[in-house]
């Protein structure tokens, strides 16, 4: 299994956000339509549904393409992704004119938390998927 490493890297990369999207979307939909939480889900969902999984795939391709030069571990490489995703997500929310509740309180906790979660997920889950697909 030595052909198309970038295609395999992309496929391994999109698995986690695609599965998480299922649970996230279900939670948001239940909150919106069952419990009538005023969340404009249709405006929000474009980012986690399209941008995030594709960026994960591209980020894994970048890892496969650059690991011989950078020698970064997959965990550290994945930990850098929120540094792109968080500003991008906030920019999109601002463009959609969506108010971010408690933004000042969430960001100082949310950003380090995202870095930790991304580090662990990339180090263990994405690395395992890469190994299964013969990319390790």
């Amino acid at each position: 299994m030595k052909q198309h490493p970038y295609l395999r890297a992309y496929m391994a990369g999109i698995v986690v956000p695609t599965i998480v999207l299922l649970f996230g979307l279900t939670s948001f939909t239940v909150a919106r339509y069952v419990y009538n939480v005023p969340l404009p889900i249709e405006r929000l969902i474009v980012f986690p549904m399209s941008v995030v999984p594709n960026l994960w795939g591209v980020w894994n391709i970048l890892f496969v393409a650059s690991r011989s030069r950078t020698h970064l571990s997959l965990g550290v490489h994945g930990m850098l992704l929120p540094l792109i995703l968080v500003p991008l997500g906030l920019l999109l929310l601002r463009a959609l004119d969506f108010p971010i509740p408690y933004a000042a309180a969430i960001l100082p906790v949310g950003v380090p938390l995202a870095l930790i979660v991304y580090y662990l997920v990339w180090k263990y889950v994405v690395a395992s998927l890469n190994q299964i697909l013969g990319l390790a």
Binding site: P48, V52, G89, V109, G110, L113, A114, I116, G134
Partner: protein, 90 residues
């Protein structure tokens, strides 16, 4: 009048003669492989066996990662407001 019918056997004999006339006879060194292919095949099989059948290494999680996971869990419990924001970026 006798009709001579051609059988499959006649055809194959004729074909054999034609081939013998037109193809040069094989020399002894043509009948053997120029190199032994088995070592290469065995090497490939061994590589695939190592890749596919090697027992998976038991997952060792260093204490630092346990600490990070505990920190993340504590942050999620203490600040549940970050959960939607985290889900949004996943």
């Amino acid at each position: 009048m006798i009709h001579k019918t051609r059988t499959g056997n006649d055809d194959s004999e004729e074909l054999k003669q034609l081939l013998q006339q037109n193809l040069p006879p094989l020399q002894d060194h043509d009948l053997e492989l120029r190199r032994d292919l088995w070592p290469r095949l065995k090497q490939r099989l061994d590589q695939e066996d190592v890749h596919d059948l090697a027992p998976r290494q038991s997952l060792r999680i260093p204490w630092f990662d346990w600490a990070l996971a505990a920190l993340a869990a504590a942050a999620l419990i203490l600040f549940p407001g970050v959960i939607p924001a985290l889900l949004y970026h996943f």
